[in-house]
């Protein structure tokens, strides 16, 4: 993990030195980024909101990866998960508080999981490449959610492209995390995200099934010879992967806005790939990498605010450069793994 952060920091250093061309002092830019992440409880809260979302998608990508599959579809799975949570919430507005949240959570898990199951089935039993299929299903998910939100459950009191509001039963009113963090988008979902990364770690390190999934991912031939149900394991892993992506629903729908706003995700699903790569798929290390990427994303909009030259597009260059360096390092790691065989 320590080494794997090198890519992040080299990328950040290179990206910051780019700001010299824009006539800025890189140290100053770095300072703004830091302040943006920790400056106030609200700032930290917004960073942690992104962190929580990225933990879910990062876990999603890494669980699939451990099973030997590449889940590019976290973005679509989180949309469907969020949609299902919203629909469940609107269908049963009168459920009492903790039960209501559990039902919505279950809906999110099932939604994300089942959405992932289809490409996994195509991959395992039909041989279609999961990267292509999940990528295409991201588009279908976006279309489907937009249609349902706008045509079936739109917000009657607003012209915004968003769903109707969930009833108050679905909102954790005295959320301590929200209170500490200045009523920011961060919420109790952060705790769930941390819990999930611990559970995923526990699953892979301690349980027999976790071991089998890793064997399947690392050497499917040996797994098959060892009598492991490789197909079933891959299928279940991809379901879990999708379900974890669906966990973003807790972060956004239940923890933040109480409704589905079209376009709420700042590409959680894609940044999640970089997060997983940076953490070398280690579920605990992933918390750190998610936080770093979250802070970077949060900082991007503040750079626009604090400086005159670092516009939104420039901060995309910064983000992109960092992701590029993470990927280069991740690729080298991947090659080394392959090469040692």
């Amino acid at each position: 993990m320590k080494n794997s952060l090198i890519g992040f920091f080299i990328g950040l250093a290179v990206a910051l030195s780019f700001t010299l061309f824009a006539g800025e002092n890189p140290i100053h830019i770095g300072w703004i980024l830091t302040k943006s992440a920790f400056g106030s409880p609200y700032d930290l809260g917004l960073t942690l909101y992104y962190t929580a979302g990225l933990i879910f998608t990062g876990l999603s990508v890494s669980v699939a990866f451990k099973a030997g599959l590449f889940n590019i579809g976290a973005e679509g799975q989180l949309l469907i998960g969020s949609l299902c949570a919203t629909v469940a919430g609107l269908l049963f507005p009168n459920l009492p508080f903790p039960i209501s949240v559990c039902v919505a959570t279950l809906a999110a898990i099932l939604g994300g999981g089942l959405w992932a199951l289809f490409p996994a089935w195509l991959k395992i039993y039909r041989g279609s490449h999961e990267v292509i299929v999940t990528m295409m299903m991201n588009l279908i998910a976006a279309g489907l959610t937009s249609w349902v939100i706008l045509k079936v459950i739109p917000n009657p009191d607003s012209q915004n492209p968003e769903s109707a509001l969930l009833s108050a039963n679905y909102i954790f009113t005295n959320d301590p995390i929200k209170k500490i963090l200045g009523d920011s988008p961060a919420s109790w979902a952060l705790v769930i995200a941390l819990l999930c990364s611990f559970l995923v770690w526990y699953f892979f390190e301690k349980t027999k099934w976790g071991y089998q999934v890793q064997v399947t991912g690392a050497n499917p031939f040996a797994a098959d010879r060892a009598g492991q149900p490789t197909k079933k394991l891959q299928l279940i892993s991809f379901f879990i992967s999708g379900a974890l992506a669906g966990g973003v629903a807790l972060v956004e729908i239940l923890g933040n806005s109480g409704q589905f706003k079209i376009g709420f995700s700042p590409d959680f699903g894609f940044i999640g790939i970089a997060v997983a790569l940076m953490a070398r798929n280690n579920p605990l290390g992933l918390v750190v990498s998610a936080f770093l990427m979250g802070a970077l994303h949060k900082g991007a909009s503040d750079l626009d605010f604090e400086t005159t030259t670092i516009t939104r597009d420039f901060s995309k260059i910064i983000q992109g450069t960092v992701i590029l360096f993470i990927s280069v390092q991740g690729y080298a790691w991947f090659k080394r793994k392959k090469g040692s065989k």
Partner: protein, 327 residues
């Protein structure tokens, strides 16, 4: 290093105190200031105000929905006098932040929200769309008229409904081909897809296309230039972008509204509440300039001006999607 940091902070602080003028913050939508359309119009209005009225202007572009609230709060915390949010997506953010900073004035374009320190700037897009619909029907020789929207959201439906009504008002037999570019926010910035849609509409016999799709619109302009057809621009005056191929533009004078609210703030005349801009105060209109006066013939102009008058007088009722969609 710490010393240099401190120096920076002091400079920043001095900067903010040294100018005692009105400070205006502008939060642009995802589309960004260069969409040559909606956000561009807002940006131009603010720039013009900065020049004419000697105010201090700072603009930012949002990265995603959740960043909006943060940006508004930052402006308010930095003691900006007026913060302008462009686009319906900022409603929630302004609602929350305006409550926390009752001393700060806010303006919201396209969103509706009642608060003592917020002015909402709304436009009767359906009326303007009706006019360009009528122009399209008058100009087109075929019975097929095209509409390309960005994302299928209520606002764009409002455009399309007014437009369709305008076409039918002139030519009840006309058939309208309606397409949307996408289902995600990327629909506003995807000219390639817009061009494809336009080409396929043209192939099916469409001669005039009204495009309400932010920065994607340029793709449609490319297509009509290639196939020698006509397009109608939106929000800003886009006639100059492809002279001779853009029949007119449906003006939504966000620039005027933004300029006005800045001016009012400067003169201590800021009022809260909803201000609607329609045909009567030229808040919405069709564009006429040296780039299109040859294709938009005097004959058409006089007919359209007649229709415009009837709408202002209430003799023609333009259907409003916002009212029909609410049960």
């Amino acid at each position: 290093m710490i010393r240099s940091l401190l120096l920076f902070i002091t400079i920043l602080l001095f900067n903010s105190f040294s100018i005692a003028n009105l400070k205006v913050g502008l939060v642009l939508d995802k589309g960004g200031k260069d969409d040559k359309s909606f956000n561009s119009a807002a940006y131009e209005g603010a720039q013009k105000a900065a020049k004419d009225l000697k105010i201090e202007l700072k603009y930012v572009e949002a990265t995603d929905i959740n960043a909006l609230e943060n940006l508004h709060r930052q402006f308010a915390q930095k003691k900006y006098d007026l913060v302008i949010g462009i686009g319906f997506a900022q409603t929630e953010a302004i609602k929350k932040v305006s409550k926390q900073f009752p001393q700060t004035h806010f303006a919201l374009v396209d969103g509706e929200l009642l608060a003592p320190n917020v002015r909402c700037l709304l436009f009767e897009e359906h009326q303007g769309s009706f006019l360009v619909g009528a122009i399209a029907a008058l100009k087109s020789k075929s019975n097929k008229i095209g509409f390309i929207g960005g994302m299928d959201i209520p606002l764009i439906r409002r455009f399309s409904m007014g437009y369709v009504a305008g076409v039918k008002h002139v030519n009840p037999k006309a058939q309208i081909v309606e397409n949307y570019i996408g289902v995600t926010g990327e629909a506003w910035t995807n000219p390639a897809k817009a061009k494809e849609l336009a080409l396929s509409q043209i192939a099916s016999g469409v001669e005039v296309i009204f495009v309400a799709a932010g920065a994607s619109g340029s793709g449609v302009f490319d297509a009509v230039e290639e196939k020698k057809k006509l397009a109608i621009g939106v929000d800003s005056n886009q006639n100059w972008m492809r002279p001779g191929f853009i029949l007119t533009s449906m003006l939504k004078r966000v620039d005027l509204a933004v300029y006005k609210v800045i001016e009012d703030s400067l003169n201590n005349k800021f009022t809260s509440g909803v201000v609607r801009y329609g045909l009567n105060d030229k808040g919405v209109d069709y564009a006429l300039d040296q780039h299109n006066d040859k294709i938009l013939t005097a004959d058409i102009r006089s007919k359209v001006d007649d229709i415009k008058k009837k709408i202002i007088d209430g003799k023609i009722q333009v259907p409003d999607y916002y009212k029909t969609s609410k049960k």
